[in-house]
Symmetry: C2
Subunit: 336 residues, 2 copies
């Protein structure tokens, strides 16, 4: 249990002041006209004893922690974990650490987590916001901390946001089913007022209206343990449905269980398309057609925006609102 060495020890050991050591440590030696001789001596000593500044003390003094708080819906969801990994990597290269957590789309939990992050003095936030968190985000930005929102657009919040073109993507996916001859296409989504979900619905509606086809929308409670029986019941009730467009990957997983449980054949008896790609969809038989979000791009934009805000402490001149487009991956489940 050896004692950690401090800047004081170094100064005492070398018979100089801690101010000098601090300046050298922070690369301000030249600016502060410390002789090269002394700089070398200090650096050598620091290397020798493997001294690392105490980050707590430093943060306490400077008010910066070099930590970014990342809040996604569910870190075990492949879509979000991919994004987290990419953001983490980029942050490290820029001297920032990431701490992440899952909101589970729970407003109260998210509120708690924001509070916790703020108590830990993170320098900036990247958040996939649940419903009803608007005020907390506002408080955050008002406190001067940069915030980048992902995946969802919150009307009335003046902060950088990165979303995908949900309406267009859903429209395209629905059209694909229509073009493959499906007529009674259902849209299975979650019971959420989140704008991105509404837009996916609008995309579906637009395509169906254009084609003058009947619409079947089923809403499932988020995180419901009953999603499989609920979807099964829905499909049983509407026997003429010949295709389903699932609004998220986990809904589709439940849907596949339901369809398989009913013994229906994909794609002959029922066509399937899902939002958000997933390894399972590629390996399932038949492979599932999906709308894939550009995870790399999302991560890239998010961290770049945040880093820009962190670098220049000036208030953002203009809020950025980035809309990315998705790619549509056609697999067997939607072709007949």
């Amino acid at each position: 249990m050896k004692k950690k060495i401090s800047i004081n020890d170094i100064a005492r050991e070398l018979g100089i002041s801690i101010t000098t050591v601090s300046f050298i440590l922070n690369g301000r030696a030249q600016e502060k006209r410390i002789s090269e001789n002394l700089v070398k001596k200090v650096q050598d000593f620091i290397n020798e004893v493997d001294y690392k500044p105490n980050s707590l003390a430093r943060s306490l003094r400077t008010g910066k922690t070099n930590i970014i708080g990342l809040m996604v819906e569910d870190i075990s969801d492949p879509f979000f974990s991919t994004i987290a990994r990419l953001i983490e990597e980029k942050s490290y290269q820029n001297g920032y650490k990431i701490i992440y957590c899952s909101t589970e789309n729970d407003t109260a939990k998210t509120r708690e987590l924001i509070k916790m992050y703020s108590e830990r003095h993170v320098d900036g936030y990247i958040i996939v916001p649940p419903e009803g968190i608007e005020e907390d985000i506002k408080t955050l930005t008002a406190s001067g901390k940069p915030v980048v929102l992902l995946d969802r657009y919150l009307p009335g919040i003046e902060t950088d946001t990165i979303v995908i073109d949900n309406l267009e993507s859903a429209y395209h996916a629905t059209r694909h089913l229509i073009d493959n001859g499906y007529k009674n296409i259902a849209f299975v989504t979650i019971d959420s007022l989140q704008l991105q979900m509404q837009e996916r619905l609008s995309g579906y509606e637009k395509a169906m209206n254009e084609a003058r086809l009947p619409q079947y929308v089923k809403e499932i409670a988020y995180n419901s343990a009953q999603s499989v029986p609920q979807i099964t019941a829905f499909l049983h009730r509407k026997k003429n449905i010949d295709a389903v467009f699932f609004a998220t990957n986990y809904l589709c997983v439940s849907g596949l269980k339901a369809i398989s449980g009913m013994g229906a054949k994909i794609p002959q008896e029922i066509g399937v398309v899902s939002f958000d790609d997933y390894e399972l969809f590629e390996m399932y038989s038949p492979a599932i057609t999906t709308v894939a979000q550009p995870a790399e791009q999302i991560a890239e934009h998010a961290i770049n925006l945040l880093l820009t805000r962190l670098k220049k402490n000036t208030a953002p001149k203009k809020v950025e609102r980035i809309v990315l487009s998705t790619s549509f991956i056609v697999r067997n489940s939607s072709i007949r």
Copy 2:
């Protein structure tokens, strides 16, 4: 950008000393004989202005951060993310926060991460250790920080460890294939000296030896992008193989791709069993038989052990070495 309130502000505002405020804050009012009157006044004020102590300052002074560092192999692997979630939940209930990261089984990266955690002054560690990290772990425990190791046993390291019974589990899985009439059973594993992998191999060997059956072992490099073609080539070369036991879930995923690419029928032409359960295995056709690790138990034991060490700052009297047993989930892929 309003200023945060400090303990100083409170003391000044109420015309008392910060010492008093601090005592009340830390629940030592009674012990320190602060009058109930004053306690109430201070607490009311604190609630009113929503004061939160600065955690950096507190940690700097106390040397405790109330943060646990969790390092798993890959946070996007369902096995590890499940464990992470469980550990996180339990920690919160005990006033500890978790920060986690993925080692990717990379020794150098892990070393970096340990250093980073140590610089952040985490109070304790839960680590899934890669190969060659023994010395770093020793340094850690020597520095007095409690460390709990998961999933892998490191010989010669005196610290609490939680593992599963790899040999017995692998033996059981192999026996299952033998009992189902498979004769030429291959074992596909990673090229790692990690003890848990060696034990899985031993379990396979033991069962095969007992049954006097020929052994086919294929090692794939960890994180190899070539795992699918490598497994394909292996199966092509050894045409008589009629079953494969995969040592990890990601190897099995690659294996399924290989088998599907070759057009072989599971389980008629080739039986499959995997270590580590995965949602994909349940949904695959046919569903894949697996050895499932007791994630809840692992998480529970890990956090309990660590919390015990953190509570009593006394040095551990005796290191705990917990061996948990797995459950074997029989699905279609291994029955004929």
